[in-house]
Amino acid sequence: MEDTFTFILPFQGETNDRTLVNFNLLLAAVFLALAFLLFLFILISRWRDGYRVSRRLWMENISQEFITTYLFSDDDLTPEQSKFFQKKYIKNDSLRQIFLENLILLHKNLIGESSDKLRQLYIDFGLYQFSKQKLYSDSWNVIAKGIGELAEMDMQQDSKLIRSFVNHSHSILRSEALVALIKLRNNKPFAFLNKLEEPLLEWQQMQLARAAQKNQLLAIPNFSKWLKNKEDSIVIFCLRMITYYTQHDALPVILDLLIHPSAQVREEAVATLRHLEAYEVTPKLVEIYENETVEVKLEILRTLATIAGPETIELYESQLQQPDKRLQLAAARALVFCGEEGKEKILSIKNDLEHSLQTVAAYALDERL
């Protein structure tokens, strides 16, 4: 054995050949043993997964049967029955988790008295404590799971505890906390925006918008109050929410964003103005146009096409002469939509087969494109 691990230099003759052969054989034996162990592990994990699936199915059936009886039976559940069920079936945390998941699944699909009854069962069976405990875990995914459960079961008393996770370093945990707060703080669903120090990722923005749509919020805030936030992603999110809730009151603050240092924020602000159909901002958009980036210019042209009249024809005509094809196309499209005069101009270009912009005009007039 000692020989096997002796350091080998080249050109050392037959002794080293033997050592090398032994070394190779030893490694080969190790690899073969590992391969066999991995193969065994695959077989065992297949068997274990099968067992887990069948156990889960069994527990799901038991849980659903019990919860349905509890919900729809004329007789109330006696403390003895409750204790008996818990003792017999909810023996450990994994079975408790399956029961809880089934309860939550039903809760998602019920409203009114049935929903309240399930909430009571959640508390009576100690599942509330079970969920809450998860918030003190070291693992982000356990905390996130706990937050989701508390939010689904409408445990408003824990919103303060959940709020402590809104600036957590893990983006998914942060996201779960924010979504939960929208659900739990129905009167101030977006108050967390005041405390948020981390950027709002696109994915999180989507989750928040979805949560806002799903939960019938009692109070929709005026999102313009966060448009001066130093975090650009929060400003962009608020602009999108202003669009979604058509908050015309936000117009003055949005106008201030047209000189925001971030081009992305300016682009989003222009898009919001288009969705709000803010006709009155046309002169302002024309004024800032010249000094903008191509992306913002395109957004302005798209917006003017929706909100402006013939007064902007001059701008469009000048843009038709630009070398950038995207600007040419957007200007041509805007001309089509700015009234009869603009449409006639585009039609005359289209009909002039010699005109250098003939294809651009044809493209702009084609509704399929």
């Binding site: 190779n24 989507m206 979805r210 084609d366």
Partner: protein
């Protein structure tokens, strides 16, 4: 004199023995380390993904728009079904661009008839130079409003993809092989990294799976099966190793160099800044990603290339040895061309982990490995003929390499088992393990030979793709 010659031959043989042993141990170590990293990354991914509800993207006005680009060349057998399959993918803000790359068959006519296409006056913004476009078509039927068909002169896959990029109207582009079968939610999964990362994501790739012997109905995969043919089964194992163990780890290390040409999503602006696909290489997929990453390093713009371990795309693997050899020949040339084009990055600390780790390891263990193996074997045969072969050493070394290959493949099967377990029946798994035992004797020598031939063709200036005929997927019988 004779004794001196014998002495030198013996010394040279010993030297090469040691060199090859060190090289083999280096490869083994790199595979083991990558497998460990991949296992950790996979666990992390699955944990993160347990909180994901992809339906959120489907109904959200915040979801980014995507242009799906699929080049088609002589695809008349399957084009209509394949396009239909693409049009039914689960994604709302999506346009499907089919680029007919000057097919010699009736691909274009079939598309025109099946989707009621008519030529439109499309203004092409030629941000990437391409071969001339003959016409752009849209459907008269509003049911196919997502579809854009481009008819162009033949210029190869890279050129067709570049045309698709010029035609696309969205900020994200997904490039696919038109004969692949995508999972219905594949776009949703590829879009997610672009939305959830703090760093700018420039590309995302997913796992490609082998669809041979699987049952397909209306362009959708309805039943996953282990291929009947040995050659296809081995490629399943290869794909497990490459995607689940290799790329997953490289993506985690931020050193991923390749997103499969079969299916990948890119940030269009970065692709255009990098100059689009290079039509002077047969490894255009790898070359584009390396060039994009190089550009980002040179412009000091932090970026990320993401990788999704979910099975997203199913493709037909070569079913005959000749086609397999052509494919591997092309892969070798593509790899070598890319590495040579970007040789400046190798061992250059300016390019971070890409320059210091990914590229050097690709040179050593991807490009050179088959050459080392081939010339090592030739050298050994010469020694054997001259009577200098050290047989005990040969057999022990062969045993070492063989058992490592088996262990590595069984580890890859374990990855599949613990992640997505597409092959649910026990006999499927046993069949894959059995295939792993035979692979080093039957399949591996062929791929080594194809790689050597690829290097030879590269030196002699061969540029062609090599014809790739496909047998087609098994259709569900009613």
């Amino acid at each position: 004199m004779m004794e001196l010659l014998q002495y030198y031959i013996s010394q040279t043989a010993t030297f090469f023995n040691h060199l090859i042993l060190v090289y083999a141990i280096g490869i083994c170590c790199s595979y083991i380390i990558l497998a460990m990293i991949s296992a950790w990354a996979m666990r992390k991914y699955k944990k993160r993904n347990s909180f994901t509800d992809y339906r959120a993207i489907l109904s959200s006005q915040f979801a980014p728009s995507v242009s799906l680009i699929a080049p088609a060349y002589n695809e008349s057998m399957t084009i209509v079904d394949n396009v239909r399959s693409l049009l039914t993918l689960h994604y709302n803000n999506c346009e499907v661009i089919i680029v007919n790359d000057g097919s010699k068959d009736n691909t274009m006519e079939l598309l025109i008839n099946a989707y009621e296409l008519e030529k439109v006056d499309f203004v092409l913004d030629n941000q990437i130079a391409t071969k001339p476009v003959r016409g752009i078509y849209k459907a008269k039927n509003p049911a196919y409003h997502k579809l854009v068909v481009v008819d162009k002169e033949n210029g190869g896959k890279a050129d067709a993809l570049n045309v698709g990029i010029n035609v696309s109207s969205n900020k994200l582009i997904a490039c696919i092989d038109v004969d692949c079968i995508l999972e219905p939610d594949s776009l949703l999964k590829l879009v997610k990294p672009f939305m959830e990362e703090e760093r700018k994501v420039i590309a995302t790739g997913g796992v490609i799976r082998i669809a041979n012997s699987c049952v397909v109905e209306d362009g959708r995969l309805v039943s996953v099966r282990v291929p009947d043919k040995f050659i296809a089964r081995v490629q399943i194992l290869e794909y497990f190793r490459a995607f689940l163990m290799g790329r997953m780890a490289w993506a985690h290390l931020d050193g991923l160099l390749l997103i499969s040409g079969a299916f990948g999503m890119f940030d269009k602006a970065t692709v255009i800044r990098a100059g689009g696909y290079n039509h002077n290489t047969v490894g255009e997929d790898m070359e584009l990603l390396v060039r994009m990453r190089r550009l980002m390093y040179e412009e000091k713009e932090p970026c990320k290339v993401a990788f999704i371990p979910d099975p997203l795309c199913w493709t037909e693997a070569p079913q005959t040895w000749d086609i397999l050899k052509r494919q591997r020949n092309r892969w070798t040339r593509g790899t070598a061309e890319t590495l040579m084009l970007h040789r400046k990055m190798i061992l250059n600390k300016r390019y971070g982990i890409l320059g210091l780790l990914s590229l050097p390891l690709w040179v050593l263990f991807e490009w050179l490995a088959p050459l080392v193996e081939f010339f090592g074997m030739i050298f050994f045969i010469c020694l054997a003929v001259l009577g200098y072969a050290n047989w005990p050493y040969f057999f022990s070394f062969f045993g070492l390499v063989y058992t490592f290959a088996i262990m590595n493949t069984v580890f890859a099967i374990l990855f599949e088992e613990r992640s997505y377990q597409q092959y649910k029946r026990r006999r499927h798994m046993l069949s894959l393990v059995g295939t792993a035992l035979l692979e080093p004797f039957i399949f591996h020598p062929v791929t080594v030979w194809a790689a050597v031939k690829g290097n030879y063709d590269l030196i002699t200036g061969k540029k062609s793709w090599g014809e790739m005929t496909r047998a087609g997927f098994a259709q569900k019988k009613n």
